[in-house]
């Protein structure tokens, strides 16, 4: 495909500082093959994110941007040097980065490279990224597959949800107007189907399998009731 036929790369700039944003946008507009679009438009190929003076906030924003716009390429702009902070941004979802000491041409080159699926690969950064991948892979557990598990009935799903919210057997019984013994029987069945021994493992597995939706807001969340009101030291099942 010749350059003239290639669709323009839609670039958006995100920054807390209006002047920086306008300067970057102005510098990019008029460049061949690039089209500057407003950041809130949501229809962009590449998003340039100004790191600013608060890297923690920029990291959080990067993670959000990754979730919201999974198809877009994210570039962290304004990092001081190629050190561990670069790795943090990559881990947060940045596909590229442009250092503070770069030129306007470097910025344009970075946008084009990102669009083509290319990333900067300074040896130090590569080494650090590989080390971080190795470290995280060590703790990663294989994700279980829903197809391997016997499906829960509606009632069992209901009860599991209540358990996840931190309710004990008695409260579940009250909520669903069934006896505690019935609750215990259902829980026993749930544990059998999920092939675990403890209710907290059942809840954990349910989240992993997507049987339970993770609450977006953690502030009101409960947890697995240890069985306050139930006998000390005994696991309910």
């Amino acid at each position: 495909m010749s350059d003239s036929m290639r669709p323009s790369i839609r670039v958006a700039v995100s920054s807390r500082e209006r002047m920086l944003r306008e300067v970057l946008e102005a510098s990019l507009s008029g460049r061949e093959g690039l089209e500057v679009v407003p950041g809130d438009d949501e229809a962009f190929d590449v998003l340039l994110m100004d790191v600013g003076c608060d890297p923690a906030a920029a990291l959080a924003y990067t993670r959000e941007a990754r979730d919201r716009w999974p198809q877009a390429k994210l570039i962290a702009v304004g990092l001081e040097r190629e050190d561990e902070s670069v790795v943090e941004f990559i881990e947060a979802g940045a596909g590229g980065y442009v250092l503070k000491g770069s030129s306007p041409e470097d910025l344009v080159a970075a946008v084009r490279a990102a669009q083509q699926g290319l990333a900067p690969c300074a040896p130090r950064v590569v080494a650090s990224v590989l080390a971080r991948i190795a470290a995280l892979s060590r703790h990663a557990a294989p994700v279980p597959c829903a197809a391997e598990v016997e499906p829960l009935t509606l009632r069992e799903g209901q009860i599991l949800g209540l358990l996840a919210a931190g309710l004990g057997n008695k409260e579940v019984g009250q909520r669903l107007r069934i006896t505690v013994q019935t609750v215990k029987n259902h829980v026993h069945r749930i544990l059998e189907k999920l092939r675990v021994h403890r209710r907290r493992d059942a809840v954990r597995l349910a989240y992993d399998l997507g049987l339970l939706a993770e609450p977006k807001d953690l502030s009101g969340r409960g947890g697995i009731a240890r069985g306050e009101g139930e006998e000390d030291g005994l696991d309910p099942f």
Binding site: R66, G117, L118, P120, V129, L136, R226
Partner: protein, 242 residues
Amino acid sequence: MPDSADGPGRPDETERAAGEATVRVAIVDPHQLFRECLAGVLAGDRRLEVTGRFASRQEALDGLPRTRVDVLLLVLDSAADAVCGFLQAVDEHSPKPKVMLLGRDEADERILEYLDAGASGFLARDQSLTELRAAIDAVSRGDRVCTPRLASTMYARLARLGRERRRRDKLDYLMLTPRELEILRLIADGLSNQEVARQLYLSVHTVKNHVHKILETLGVHSRWAAVQHAIERGWIADRRRR
């Protein structure tokens, strides 16, 4: 930050400072024509010395004990099986040569596994001879090289692992009851099980059970590790005395 595959602290005889003697290169490639031509071309470079030409990985392993090699250039063919096994076998040689991979598909995620298994770098076959020489030079000095396309794949994998770790952390947090978080906060303040029990009007036995469950949920082995875990993730404030 490691700059060689050998890890910190271990003297590496095959690393050289700038301006030192030639880099000894061995080539592993069943494609005879490419192998011989490449050997000839590299031999013409004053900074390099081609010390081995092997038609297969097995031949290379057999020849390594007798051959001084700083950089082993392994050309990946379509039969990319057992590369990790080869890398592990090379790893056992001392001094250990740096292994540089030359391959076709830069976005192949298996290459990341090879890099993890000990390969020092990867180059694509659509790059130039100049880039190859520069890469051999860099790798001999302990740097890790890869192509921009492979770096993109690598960064995507790190992002995925990062997301999964955050998700696991979030689930860990969900699995702790408010009571357990409270206990964790008190432990962070330095309270013993007895003091926690008294403060929360629980029996020591109950507190111990809660602590046990916390350790299990977080996958740690001590109270202090649990406190550290929670502080690192921002679940509780860091108010420990220094």
